[in-house]
Amino acid sequence: MNQLIKEIEAKQLKEQPPEVRVGDTVKVETIIQEGKKERSQYFEGLIIAISGTGVNKTFRVRRIFQGIGIERTFLLHSPKIRKIKVIRSGKTRRAKLYYLRSRIGTKATRLKTIQNAAMANKSAKKAAKVKDDAKAKPEATPNTEAEKAAE
């Protein structure tokens, strides 16, 4: 891509884009301007597709409301999105979950939840923490020993 355009787009991107994956059940908080007041609106559903790159990266959220499927596409880097909360992660075998559109009832949104993924995430974080702690400990122990010795 053109270098100039890259530079312009780089300014528009979020520094830490929210991490979402296809199959995640998410709650998206968007800002709505009403006159001078700001209000939050929530949209909860399943991410069935992620497409585009750069500023144009979007994710599509599907939810079933009163028996009717509703889909909404969000720009990942939009400043209107305040927060995306991942409620559940599902196990998927394809990148686009359009086949869910032809499903009715509870099957429509049911995916095998990856407990592993959620757990994996958590355990990864834990592992990272443990590592950090482990790093921190060796420094701490000599001190305590030194202190003990001093005592």
Binding site: M1, N2, L4, I5, I8, K11, Q12, V55, L75, P79
Partner: protein
């Protein structure tokens, strides 16, 4: 003399999108403003009218002919591929070799007119070229994308001039008016305008301020009438 009376030469870099202060998406075209240098100043005494000639897009000597090179050398400017002239009301207070002040040009400027060569589409059929109706695709239809009747029969027994037919489409000079300026970065010489402009990425464009006095024939006559 106001810089806005002049115009600028630029290249189209491509399109992208940005978020405005309210978080809405604006589709923008990225335009790189070329180095616009005054190559000649025409005066009423010498030429019978006043104008400023501007050159842009530096080029090699072998790509120009002798008279062109001679002129550039006489004026002591760089060699330019493109020259363009803008009529001014009074004799310009600029000198040969001066650069057009783009910062001043885009200051408080909300809308511009952009001229360029549109994307060439080649020889196109009636339907695409003139927005014609298409025929039936099934049931043995023999007029899927046909032009249809060319006119009456025995009288006038010819096709009337101006009848719309398949033709070359695009690749012509187009001016789009009142293009909104989103932002201008004087340091990087990058202009962002809302929406599309003619041509593909890399195309040369001419930018004029919208509402700047067009020193053409019509306007001159109108002004003369007003003065009288």
């Amino acid at each position: 003399m106001d810089q806005k009376e002049l115009g600028l030469l630029a290249t189209k870099e491509g399109m992208t999108q940005i978020f405005d202060e309210n978080g809405f998406v604006i589709p923008v075209t990225v335009i790189k403003i070329a180095e616009n240098v005054v190559t000649d100043i025409k005066t009423a005494d010498r030429d019978g009218y006043t104008s400023v000639q501007i050159g842009a897009f530096e080029t090699k000597e072998k790509l120009l002919n002798k008279p062109e090179i001679g002129k550039f050398k006489k004026n002591g400017t760089k060699l330019f591929k493109k020259l363009i002239e803008f009529r001014t009301e009074e004799a310009a207070d600029m000198a040969i070799g001066d650069e057009v002040n783009t910062e001043e040009f885009f200051k408080d400027l909300e809308k511009v007119n952009i001229t360029g060569v549109s994307v060439g589409k080649g020889f196109q059929g009636f339907v695409k070229a003139h927005n014609g109706h298409i025929g039936r695709r099934s049931h043995g239809s023999k007029s899927k994308r046909q032009i249809g009747s060319l006119g009456a029969g025995t009288t006038p027994s010819r096709v009337l001039p101006g009848k719309r037919m398949p033709t070359m489409l695009g690749n012509e000079v187009v001016t789009i008016e009142k293009v909104k300026v989103v932002s201008y970065d004087a340091e990087k010489r990058v202009l962002l305008v809302r929406g599309p402009v003619p041509g593909k990425a890399g195309a040369e464009l001419k930018i004029k301020a919208f509402g700047a006095k067009a020193w053409n024939h019509k306007n001159k006559r109108k002004l003369a009438l007003e003065a009288a």
